[in-house]
Symmetry: C2
Subunit: 328 residues, 2 copies
């Protein structure tokens, strides 16, 4: 077992029982009377991901002394929302179908991916309405709205090198950190009240989630495809300006900036991420972005000092280190 695998194991260990219950809820919710839906979910390999977001609900509950019997169900709902966003991310633009055909789910088409994602969202919301408190429905529907808005904003600002780091963090945070943040807040607050613990964990989750996204963005430009386990360079292909690229662009002189823009926008360029390394200081950009991720994790871990010592609190700190060390 590699160091990073054992790190992940240490994160999940204190809530192993809750994670098991979360998975049971998840499987039962996804099982459907409809054979057609079952066929689809059986084949979505992503149903067995790291499930970090769900685990965060449980860890935040334990670390703040707020675990309830409903926490595993909330964790399952959070994972279902995450799965829905992943499934919808697979839907391709007509124009990019040919270029990226290898990434498309080979067995189902776009419309089916849309329907499966919608099914997961609906199932998640339906499950949340069965809980004793409405807090989860409220926080998670608002979070889902924010994820969508951030993804729409991100699409609208493709190729926009004037994005700025603040807007980058707002958009990337809204897209990714908001669900981490909601998971942590619900863990600490559900079924209600406990505003202080909720706010603390909400901020912790935001910082960890934003760091996670920044690391993801770095892996997309410099990661090893075999290790990352998915194709890299997708953001550049899609015209997304991520923090490492934004920083490299800022550091570049006028002529190199022109070349960077050309790499992003000239039709027919192959392997844009590799090209990018030739025309600007991409490793300098990655170094800067990783430092920012480190800063966010440090701030998040600092917040944990306000909590009583516990295995769950330690696991949350390990999670911070895991986010920075992971290579996939």
């Amino acid at each position: 077992m590699s160091g990073i695998d054992s790190r992940l194991e240490r994160v999940l260990a204190p809530v192993a029982e809750g994670v098991g219950r979360m998975r049971t809820v998840l499987e039962r919710q996804i099982e459907e009377s409809s054979g057609a839906v079952g066929d689809m979910t059986d084949h979505v390999g992503r149903f067995r991901g790291k499930q970090l977001r769900g685990a965060l609900v449980l860890l935040a509950g334990d670390a703040t002394g707020n675990a309830t019997d409903e926490h595993p169900a909330i964790a399952a709902i959070v994972e279902m929302i995450h799965l829905a966003t992943l499934v919808h991310d697979d839907v391709l633009d007509g124009a990019s179908v040919r270029r990226r055909v290898a990434c498309v789910n080979q067995r189902w088409d776009n419309q089916t991916a849309v329907l499966l994602g919608d099914f997961l969202y609906a199932r998640a919301f339906a499950l949340s309405t069965d809980l004793s408190s409405r807090l989860a429905s409220r926080v998670l529907s608002e979070t889902t709205r924010r994820i969508c808005v951030s993804e729409i904003e991100q699409a609208a600002r493709r190729y926009d090198f004037d994005l700025g780091e603040k807007a980058y963090e707002e958009i990337s945070g809204g897209k990714t950190a908001s669900l981490y943040s909601a998971a942590c807040e619900l863990g600490a607050r559900y079924p209600g009240g406990r505003d202080e613990a909720g706010l603390l964990m909400r901020r912790f989750g935001w910082e960890i989630g934003l760091a996670f996204q920044i690391v993801d963005d770095c892996l997309d430009v410099v990661g090893d495809e075999a290790v990352v386990g998915k194709s890299v360079g997708n953001d550049v292909e899609d015209g997304k300006i991520t923090l490492p690229v934004l920083r490299a662009y800022t550091l570049a002189d006028e002529r190199s900036r022109g070349l960077v823009r050309d790499v992003f926008t000239t039709p027919g360029i192959e392997r844009r991420a590799a090209r990018l390394r030739d025309v600007c200081d991409l490793s300098g950009g990655v170094e800067y972005a990783m430092a920012r991720a480190g800063e966010l994790v440090a701030s998040a871990c600092e917040r944990l000092q306000a909590l009583e010592p516990s295995p769950a609190r330690d696991a949350l700190a390990h999670l911070g280190a895991f986010v920075l060390e992971r290579r996939w």
Copy 2:
């Protein structure tokens, strides 16, 4: 004004004020701090549809003496869910992009349509969690789940001429009638209790909604494109076996059945719906399907007799007639 326009006007007249309030809620909900989302929603012409589903919440409330201040908000939520399903229906399979490019939203790509639909779903659920009772969240998340499952089932049973009328009604009903049914039930029951009125209106909504879908399916095979206002023949292109086709197939002899299957499945055939008319008794199928729609509307209207006479009750009966007479 044509007869059918004035029919629609008579349906909406008793709840004109509520419809106005519903539209205000709808506009406010769709307005978003995000400029990018606003740009998109501004251009979705469908935001000004017939809004029958929303009106049904209000009519069912009035007809059962159950109107509350929250009914217009529920009506707006129902319309938002309907809009989300329409926006997601526009997402095309890569393979069909070329063939149907004229139908695709010219300004945004598939991924954007997915995100806009997700935004509308999330906004709808978020709004429902602000209501005083959880009934709307529960009924509408379960209804959305059912819509998705039915659409997945429909996709799974393309080209399946052994579908049978019962399965057709379950799938078409789940896809369309379930939201009519939920709108009527919520109108009659919200904020809770009142099971008898709820059940009555739930059944009314199911029958009206299923009739609406059957008429839609008939218009798709025999409608006049200029009148229907959208391209016809889409179901045949997509391989969907609808009631008029199913009936025509059942009526046909073995040889004609083979020809019908060929029209559906031979690659490269143009104008499949027109071809279908040449190889089977499509008008006989349409006649049968329209008779079934008439039967459903008659049963729905019969149910209204249990309610006190009122302008809203009359409007619901007009709605039944409108569903059968509409040509678009």
